[in-house]
Subunit: 341 residues, 2 copies
């Protein structure tokens, strides 16, 4: 059995990446400044940033492969304009590609998108194509709120998003629905905005008929599906009240939850109420919560332990750890098969 | 043991109340129209609206008393201006008072507030005083987002809210944190906005030091605390990362969750991770989810069944059903004691 972590971010990139971003932001305040260029980052600098962090933890925790994307909180699509987002996104994605090339057995790429508030999502199609077809990435992170906590974009079921979904279907890649940092002081990024976005997206899918229009479109809702599994009765009941079809056919053929829930009772609930075929192992490490749980003595985000502890058949654990990810990310499955895995 | 439902709304008020609201809204579009007046509602009309709904279900499900407030989704503080909100709020609260007077053994009042976007919360102090001191209400519903899904107010830990908290402390009444309908198409009211607000408020409390400034201030976060219990590890870990005190002392002496979670596994989780002293029985009936769960054959919102089914000591169930509500709502305790209960 392979252990595939579907949710890892490059939160530990060399400082030059942030320097580039700082220069971008400085230029927003002073357009006379030159267009910034990302300073050269050596392979050794990348190796150090990975080997002391994600790779060390991957090995220590017994995972094999991480589906790896740029730092989600740093996407910050609300900063600057579309050109800002395009340049930043390209730099972040190119760095993921370098990690994957250095550690092809341990990481596979998922891309950030050059979204920007008020800009058609069709403008993100080119970067998706580049990342999938040229860089070998297997999916993308789609931000339902490029405004960063003001929620000014149309809901995900709106036709606004359809040009992008058409390309996702054509390339056969899924998207993780993932907001970025919040510039609304009401919403702490990882404590409120992330979880709210997960919950919001799921409810939008109930309200719409997106998966009738795109039967093979696939989304991962991270952080264990936000509030959804805990309120599974509410969502079943709301679908019924709104005269929507049962969730199993209406939403759950296309929507998957990861296991970024940082305590055993939460994972127990997730696996109890959500079909095991809809659950993908994920940890979000090194990410939102980096400490050690004093109640267990283990890292909060060492989510493999919680799944290991579940009293479910080994075949079901293999679905969560490996097979569901291979089904949701067909391009990953092809890569692994080509390696004899 | 008394069974006290801490979360009921008058969602079934006689049609004249909505007609008044419709006239208010019509006048917003045509200021030449006369100021609307609520048409006379007879006691029999109120009796019918209650006896066929909340009272019938209260009896059928075996609850004794409902802490009763105006329909939350209809508060809609974002409609019109402060005068609109003041008139609407007064009408809604006065109707709650009439229900309580007709059925004093079955209902006790909690008030809506005349909030309005951009208006100081101090302007809601008068209505809170009127409802508590003149009408005998025991608490209020506080909307953290009077904009209805645009989240333009300061966070609940901001000094903006302090004049209201001072009055709550002085009157010794708690607030349920409860948003209203959403005018942001991203957020379905009961499926996203409500749950997001619950999660958001809790994270704000972690970020701030509100309960150092107001040690006896008490909030109920409804809908089982939003996403919080499911992500309890995340919140414990975030408090640690943000160098905040442990949640038990920092937040949980002042914050309580109701049991509006509409399936057994959700309630099981709630009671497993949250101290039983922080849980108040609530159903939100007749409210967000009105149907029958095909998996159980019972109403989704018949939350008493889920608590009855818990394998916890009878003394803990009494805390959830009665004693915690009497502690969080001291004015309720006084009323009950005066009745020899």
């Amino acid at each position: 059995m392979l252990i595939i972590d579907c949710h890892g971010h490059y939160t530990t990139a060399p400082a030059k990446l942030q320097q580039f971003r700082d220069q971008q932001i400085a230029r927003l305040g002073d357009p006379g400044l030159p267009l910034p260029k990302l300073a050269s980052i050596s392979d050794d600098q990348i190796r150090e940033s990975i080997e002391l962090n994600q790779l060390k933890l991957q090995r220590a925790r017994g995972a094999d492969l991480t589906i790896f994307s740029p730092r989600a909180s740093a996407m910050a699509h609300h900063i600057g304009d579309e050109a800002t987002s395009q340049a930043w996104t390209r730099a972040c994605n190119d760095l993921i590609k370098r990690v994957v090339d250095l550690y092809p057995a341990n990481f596979v790429g998922v891309c950030q998108l050059p979204q920007s508030p008020g800009i058609p999502i069709a403008n993100s199609v080119g970067e998706l194509e580049r990342c999938v077809e040229e860089l070998g990435f297997i999916g993308c992170n789609l931000n339902p709120d490029p405004s960063g906590g003001h929620w000014t974009a149309p809901p995900l079921i709106d036709k606004h998003w359809y040009p992008f979904y058409e390309k996702m279907v054509e390339l056969d890649v899924p998207a993780m629905i993932h907001v970025s940092s919040s510039c609304n002081p009401n919403f702490h990024a990882t404590g409120a905005h992330y979880i709210n976005a997960d919950t919001t997206a799921f409810m939008q899918f109930i309200e719409g008929d997106l998966f009738r229009d795109f039967q093979t479109l696939r989304f991962i809702i991270p952080h264990g599906g936000g509030a959804v599994p805990y309120h599974w009765g509410r969502y079943r009941g709301l679908a019924d009240m709104l005269k929507r079809p049962a969730l199993s056919g209406h939403v759950m053929k296309n929507v998957f939850f990861d296991t970024c829930v940082y305590h055993q009772p939460g994972i127990d609930l997730l696996v109890k109420v959500i079909d095991v075929d809809n659950i993908l192992f994920g940890s979000e490490m090194v990410g939102a919560v980096r400490g050690i749980d004093p109640e267990t003595g283990h890292y909060f985000d060492d989510t493999k332990r919680y799944i290991d502890a579940l009293a479910i058949p080994a075949a079901d654990k293999r679905r969560i750890f490996e097979l569901n990810a291979r089904r949701v990310f067909p391009r990953l499955d092809r890569v692994l098969k080509a390696r004899g895995l």
